[in-house]
C-alpha cells in the first residue's frame, strides 16, 4: 500500500446523511436496533458544521436529516403530554437506518462481484474501435427511445430558436424600405425583391408589409395569375 492509499482509507467520505449516521453509530459502538437517535445528534451536527467528508452537492440532504435529528432531540428533552410524535419519528429514522445498512452490504457485495467480473475478458473488449451502428431491438429500452426523441425535439427547438433570434424586421421599417424602393424606381417586382432576402422571416415580413401598404392604399399590387410575380406601384390616387 503506498501513501495515497493510506490517505484514502483514512479519509471518511460520506455518501449521504444515512452513511454518516451509520458511521457514528458504529463509532460509538451502539447496537443499531436499540440506539437512541437523539444521543448522536451533537456529533452529527459537529460533522456537518466542520463539513468533514460532506459532499457539498448533497448538503441539502444532510441538513434535512439534521432538522429531523434536532426535532427528535428536542421532543425527547421536553415533557411529553402523551405524544407519540417523537417516538414515531425516531422509529422511522431507525427503520430507515436498518434498511440503509442492508443496502450498504449489498453494495459491497456488488462491488466485489464487479471487481471479479472485470478480471474476465470478453471477446470484443480489445477491438472496440469498430463502431456498433446497429442496435439489437431487444436491447433498446423505452428509456433509450425516449432519450432519442427528446434529442430530436431539442435539436428542432434549437433550430427554430436560433432562426427566430437571427434578426428582427419591424413591419414599419420594412414598409419604409419598400416605399423608398418604389419611389426611386417607380415599380417593384416583388418576387425579385424577395429572392434577394436571406431569411424566410424577412420574406414573410415583406409580404405583410406589402399587404399593409395595399390596405392603407399606399401602393397598388397586381398579380396576373396564381404563383406569378406581384408587381407593385405607388398609388397615385392617395394625394
Amino acid at each position: 500500500m503506498n501513501e495515497t492509499d493510506i490517505y484514502q482509507v483514512q479519509t471518511e467520505f460520506f455518501e449521504g446523511p444515512l452513511d454518516l449516521l451509520l458511521y457514528l453509530i458504529r463509532k460509538n459502538k451502539m447496537n443499531i436496533l436499540d440506539i437512541r437517535i437523539s444521543e448522536i445528534t451533537a456529533e452529527y451536527l459537529f460533522y456537518l458544521k466542520n463539513c468533514q467528508g460532506i459532499n457539498p452537492t448533497l448538503e441539502g440532504d444532510f441538513l434535512m436529516t439534521a432538522s429531523t435529528l434536532i426535532y427528535i432531540k428536542s421532543r425527547s428533552l421536553l415533557p411529553r403530554p402523551g405524544s407519540t410524535d417523537e417516538a414515531s419519528a425516531e422509529d422511522k429514522l431507525i427503520h430507515t437506518l436498518i434498511e440503509y445498512d442492508k443496502i450498504q452490504k449489498i453494495s459491497r457485495l456488488l462491488q466485489e462481484m464487479e471487481t471479479h467480473t472485470l478480471l474476465l475478458w470478453k471477446r470484443e473488449e480489445v477491438s472496440e474501435h469498430f463502431e456498433h451502428k446497429e442496435f439489437d431491438i431487444e436491447e433498446v429500452s423505452s428509456f433509450q427511445l425516449a432519450e432519442i426523441f427528446l434529442n430530436i425535439v431539442k435539436k428542432k427547438d434549437q433550430e427554430e430558436y436560433l432562426y427566430l433570434e437571427s434578426k428582427n424586421y419591424p413591419l414599419d421599417k420594412k414598409i419604409e424600405e419598400i416605399l423608398h424602393l418604389i419611389e426611386t424606381s417607380e415599380y417593384l417586382n416583388f418576387f425579385e425583391y424577395v429572392d434577394k432576402l436571406d431569411s424566410i422571416e424577412e420574406i414573410l415580413v415583406s409580404f405583410f408589409a406589402l399587404l399593409e401598404m395595399v390596405k392603407q392604399r399606399l401602393v397598388v399590387a397586381l398579380q396576373k395569375r396564381l404563383f406569378d410575380s406581384i408587381s407593385v406601384w405607388k398609388n397615385q390616387q392617395t394625394d
Partner: protein, 207 residues
C-alpha cells in the same frame, strides 16, 4: 461453472498462475489471442514472455496447435499476415452457418430508432412530419419499420393530399415491454432527469 459466492472464494485462493510453465504460457497466448480481433505478431508475444529463442517459442506454439487440433476443440491456431490468430475449425463452418442463419436477430439502425421514437411520441403522424422533425427524408426508415411490424398505417390525415398516418403496433409494445403507450416515459419526466436540478431530498419524516 461456479456460483458467485464460490467464485469470490476462488478469486482469493488461486495466485499460482505466473507464466513459468509451458502450460501457463499456452494459456496466456490463448487468452490474448481470444480477446484480439487482429492477428498478433509472434515477436510481440515473445518479448512479453521473455522468450529470446525462436525455437523455444515455436515449440510452445506447436504444442498449443496440437492441443487445439484434438477432437473436442472448436478453435484452432492460424498464421495470417505474419501474425497468430484463433479461428474456428473449418469442419464446423457449415454448422456455424446454419446456426447463425436460424438466429437472425432483428437489428435497427439509429435512423430507424429516431423515426420509431417520433412515431411513438407523435402518433398518428405523417411521413412529412417525421421528415420535418428529423430534418431528413424518412420514407426509407418508415418502410423498414413497417416491414418489421413496429409501426402500421393508421389512417389518413385530413389535409390536402390526404397523406397516410402512422402509429405504433402491438409488436412495438411487446418489444419494449410496455403494457400500453402511457407507460412510455413522458418528456417532462426525462427532461427532469437530464436537468438534474437539485431538489430537497425526498427523505422526509412525516410527523
Amino acid at each position: 461453472m461456479e456460483k458467485p459466492a464460490d467464485r469470490l472464494k476462488h478469486m482469493k485462493q488461486n495466485q499460482d498462475f505466473n507464466l513459468d510453465t509451458i502450460d501457463d504460457k499456452i494459456a496466456f497466448i490463448e487468452s490474448i489471442l481470444f480477446v484480439s480481433k487482429e492477428p498478433l505478431e509472434p515477436e510481440k508475444i515473445m518479448n512479453f514472455l521473455n522468450c529470446k529463442n525462436i525455437q523455444e517459442f515455436e515449440k510452445i506454439i506447436a504444442k498449443m496447435d496440437e492441443s487445439c487440433r484434438q477432437s473436442g476443440r472448436g478453435i484452432i491456431l492460424q498464421r495470417a499476415g505474419g501474425g497468430l490468430q484463433l479461428v474456428t475449425k473449418p469442419d464446423i463452418h457449415p454448422f456455424l452457418k446454419d446456426f447463425y442463419t436460424i438466429k437472425t436477430s432483428s437489428k435497427l439502425s439509429i435512423q430507424s430508432l429516431e423515426t420509431l421514437s417520433i412515431v411513438a411520441y407523435r402518433q398518428p403522424v405523417t411521413i412529412a412530419e417525421i421528415s420535418d422533425l428529423r430534418g431528413v427524408n424518412s420514407i426509407g426508415t418508415v418502410k423498414n419499420l413497417l416491414q418489421k411490424k413496429l409501426i402500421r398505417i393508421s389512417g389518413r390525415k385530413k389535409v390536402p393530399g390526404l397523406p397516410l398516418l402512422y402509429s405504433t403496433t402491438r409488436e412495438f409494445l411487446l418489444y419494449f415491454g410496455l403494457n400500453d403507450l402511457t407507460e412510455l416515459p413522458s418528456l417532462e419526466e426525462l427532461t427532469e432527469m437530464f436537468e438534474e436540478k437539485e431538489q430537497p431530498s425526498l427523505f422526509t419524516i412525516k410527523t
